[in-house]
Amino acid sequence: MSSGFNVFRVGISFVIMCSFYMPTVDSLLELSPQKYFSTLQPGKASLAYFCQADSPRTSVFLEELNEAVRPLQDYGISVAKVNCVKEEISRYCGKEKDLMKAYLFKGNVLLREFPTDTLFDVNAIVAHVLFALLFNEVKYITNVEDLQNIENALKGKANIIFSYVRAIGIPEHRAVMEAAFVYGTTYQFVLTTEIALLENIGSEDVEYAHLYFFHCKLVLDLTQQCRRTLMEQPLTTLNIHLFIKTMKAPLLTEVAEDPQQVSTVHLQLGLPLVFIVSQQATYEADRRTAEWVAWRLLGKAGVLLLLRDSLEVNIPQHANVVFKRAEKGVPVEFLVLHDVDLIISHVEHNMHIEEIQEDEDDDMEGPDIDVQDDEVAETVFRDRKRKLPLELTVELTEETFNATVMASDSIVLFYAGWQAVSMAFLQSYIDVAVQLKGTSTMLLTRINCADWSDVCTKQNVTEFPIVKMYKKGENPVSYAGMLGTKDLLKFIQLNRISYPVNITSIQEAEEYLSGELYKDLISYSSVSVLGLFSPTMTTAKEDFSEAGNYLKGYVITGIYSEEDVLLLSNKYAASLPGLLLARHTEGKIESIPLANTHAEDIVQIVTDALLEMFPEITVENLPSYFRLQKPLLILFSDGSINPQYKKAILTLVKQKYLDSLTPCWLNLKNTPVGTGILRAYFDPLPPLPLLVLVNLHSGGQVFAFPSDQAIIEENLVLWLKKLEAGLENHITILPAQEWKPPLPAYDFLSMMDAATSQHSTRKIPQCMKETDVQENDKEQHEDKSAVRKEPIETLRIKHWNRSNWFKEAEKSFRHDKEL
């Protein structure tokens, strides 16, 4: 089309690039005239609303203009509000307040001026502005002759997109203009608002907007009319985009593959495929039939000619049509249809179903905001009717609380009956009670803070759920472990004795370290810690006792500070004061020196010592390793780990190759959720085992050890070196997005606004007779019910899904442009 426009286009893509890199300005710029004109760039379009500086700051027009800032920015058009001040007189500043106008500039050339009432809403603004800019791409016509002339001129050259909209500035007009912005150079757009024109083409239902594709490019004989295809969906930007895509696709394709495997643009657009089965003998006739069908189904389905003779897969003998739905995974249908109309009706019939489904989707508009998407709340709700053996725990009340926790060592679960997380945890708590039934000295109790709010507040419980342990003569201790059966059970069992345990003889100390002393407890704590002190080290002992007390319920701690402590320290090569760590599973005893170590540092030392060199990572223990902030080197194993792999990695650990990493392995049998993790890393999933490096804390890159290499030391070292040198490519990068609201909320503020604006349009006169009052009352009630319906239909903010589609469509628009 016009070459001048290409410059403009360049400008736009530049702007799009910029807006990509710069924080987009979403609000309306306010400038003085002088400032404004200095910002105009050659080739760039800009819409400016000139208004008096003292005019009201908000008006309906300004609100709409403000909303138009973003969409227009997407088209590279800037929007500004220019405040006319007395000092700077501009000819665009009207004389009177109500004569203010908006002006469209390209560079500093005035393209058009708009009285504000033509720009009645955001759709009108976008539509008008694009309409003015695309005056060549979109021909506005008013009579049949114009259409005829354009059609004749383009025969054999280009196709036409003809649309009828009821008025300029309505949403359908905007949709057409947005499509023209993208496809304006490829197709000639023709626009009309004359019903007569539409009737001339032979449309029914003229009250709706229409869009036709005129296939003029194919026409070589000037006397012949261009074929026309009507777009049947409502006129939206997205629908037009999809429609044009199908028009661009080849009318008929010949294939000789398994129909199940065939894919064309139609499937991607959600349209079915129709295969006309052909044989060598009837090829010519079949092709003619197929073309005929293809024209009939244009825009509704893709039509292909399937050459049976060169086909490797078997298709049923009599089948002459194969129908493939757009939905994935649905098997193809083999049909025997002897009439072309039957093919058409089959497609349309199935389309119809699809349309209904679409309609449903439209109503739902994606996930329903009234549907629970919190897994804890949902599962607790689904489980609400199951009876728990609550009687295994003692339910406390305001009256019984103090007496109970004073009388016996108790665990108290503070929960709220209406809170899902509380109720989910109550199940684990009851499981603990089941497992401890009759064996524990600890009384398991619970109190519902929804009933006994004051008790909970007095116990300093302000959030739920909370577990506290009350022991005679001790301050209550809050449980800080995982809210699950296993860890809570461990906490309760380990708390049967007080920590640190006072060890009084060498022999007892040896028993303690060997695990003999607390045989029944070491299954809960794989490490026993013994603090060694000479009797005079009082401060060090106090610090250790404090740490031991802090760690109670999580690890077994003991203290030895008899005169003969040197015997022990010598035997285990420990300095005084010092710690001995007995790892019962490995049968090893380590020593760690303590020198002026404060309680919290001791806690840290012990906590770190609990970590393994090459642990099996589980749901429960990941957080302890996660907080080390190192990349994880995970070996995914289907079942137990191959001892050779384990050996290889432990060797690397010893050789200090893995100091900057946290090596671990994951057993998919114990941790089935690992499969989900692998799926996020790999596509398709290679066979196990898989060794993966996940850089969780900086960058999120995931690297995979080549699955064709054996997991042996040499290969691993080489791979790690390549990784370090940056020679390996990551297989994926973990998404870094923040967790946003999963779905929108009801926008009550807009609903209230809508209701008040409706009310204010019909004001009730002040003086009324009594009868009037009653009538009016009734009217108000009716009014109210009208209001009730209105917001439901129009104001639900569930359109997020659709707007996303729009963005997607827009993206591909841009893509098309570059091409």
């Binding site: 909303e67 897994e375 959030e463 997020w800």
Partner: protein, 684 residues
Amino acid sequence: MGLSAVAPLWGPPGLLLAIALHPALSVPLRRDYCVLGAGPAGLQMAYFLQHAGRDYEVFERAPRPGSFFTRYPRHRKLISINKRYTGKANAEFNLRHDWNSLLSHDPRLLFRHYSRAYFPDAHDMVRYLGDFADTLGLRIQYNTTIAHVTLDKDRRAWNGHYFILTDQKGQVHQCSVLLVATGLSVPNQVDFPGSENVEGYESVSIDPEDFIGQNVLILGRGNSAFETAENILGVTNFIHMLSRSRVRLSWATHYVGDLRAINNGLLDTYQLKSLDGLLESDLRDLAILKDSKGKFHVTLKFFLEEASTNQSTDAITLPQDDNDNFAMRVPYDRVIRCLGWNFDFSIFNKSLRLNSGNAFGKKYPLIRASYESKGSRGLFILGTASHSVDYRKSAGGFIHGFRYTVRAVHRLLEHRHHSVAWPATELPITQLTSSIVRRVNEASGLYQMFGVLADVILLKENAMAFEYLEEFPIQMLAQLETLTGRKARHGLFVINMEYGRNFSGPDKDVFFDDRSVGHMEDAWQSNFLHPVIYYYRYLPTEQEVRFRPVHWPLPRPTAIHHIVEDFLTDWTAPIGHILPLRRFLENCLDTDLRSFYAESCFLFALTHQKLPPFCQQGYLRMQGLMSTESLWQHRVESRLLRDDAPTGRDLEDSSQQPGDQELLGAPLAPGPLAQSLDSNKEEL
């Protein structure tokens, strides 16, 4: 309440000076806090001061607390409900339906232990208040009538001046803060010709025998007027009730100060034409004449002014002379005035600038929404006399309302004078939904003082934590930081209880069809009392609070949420109440507030660079929520999780279909989901 109704008129200032300088009395007794009156509000304030260990004294004219209740209400029946059973154990919730108890930590000091009657006897209130004062050991000087209050400027004083109180013995008390809880003690009298013939509610006989066969005219249309009528309804010939405006029924206005159903027997007999009747007219246009037989005739003031002064009463024109069907043409045997009460301004020196309000009559002193006098700093009005703040709206004029406003005043004072910030609980953001659900379901202060006291949630930086402040006077929202000592830099929520905007009113039909709303998306049209949550990105300014939209309790927020009204006032339904609330909070904070099992957090931890708050604040701190066998089963069935079983279908398949969003994997598609309230505007 505790003060003499008629204070002596003070002479020239010299006299005061002379008394003050009298050697025996010259030593003023000093107190940080002085409370005037040991009625419910005075005792309530004394309790909080005592509990906080403050230096205070209560002055009471009578020998025991609650002297007002020894005489009033005249017919002894309190119309504040004493609901002893609610079916719930929650003590805070039960206070919603206990309108007589004062707040204390002692559960024995609940009114239900003092009376079994739903509408209790006033003597029980006297007994209750006495016990309250004694059990808690409140410092009260009985038999002390404060006769005069004046100001003494002193730059060292907390408020730049001391309040100087002089009692009937001439003893002077110097107070840093003055808390006036004297109630409304002066009967309201309307001046019109013949008003001397009218008997007052405060002194009229309550023995029905005295009214047998009489024609009675009652002036007024409040609860005392109807209570008086109710007592004599069965023995009089008829009762006519005359008032300026039409009767307001509290079940239509949702205001407890309007006519309660328990007193409305006369409405019944009026509408059934059983001779009793209601009339509306401005009393100031009327005159009452006593004829020679001692009967009273109603006429117009206008006629009286026409006639010369020395004419006999019989000669004065009566309306029925011209208009022979005039309603009040029968002569009355008695005229009784039941026109309510006014605050006693007489003891306060002009320097205190304690003025009466203008808007709704002169009965109340002019105060701010913080209950501090507009005239002098450090002077607070408590109790019934503080009702100007929420007159005709909420319950601030009644025990079940002002017990909370007194607590609010005390909290303000604690911060102002003792640097104790307004009590607040700091919680992680994962507890946000729960903390709101908890309060709207049990809080009694919010429930009674709807529209006046509201909870405030102050967000911390990055919205990872918040502070929860209870029952703040919302009209002071702009001054929140200075009044509470808390910072509101990162946005705030206000939790208020509201009736529907157009639901309550004297002439409204509150029983119309569809008066209640059931669906969440219609929640904003809820009519009955329901929680409303306002979200502000910034603390509103004073201007914004003052010039807020009409009928709005607060300035226009960034976003608003209504929790749909509930027949049982139980807002704990997972889908109906909690889910929409969570979505609202999420969209305000632009984050994901769902809770997740540890398994999900584990998956997210290894497949995302960032975690949702619940996993960050729980799982990663080794406090993840493990699921149990049966919950796991439901989790699989609910299809809310990604299918992590090895046999599952390919993930990529489903993620391409927009209708089939993976809820848990939501951040995989951050674009559309990142829709915060800023970007709710439609693009198409």
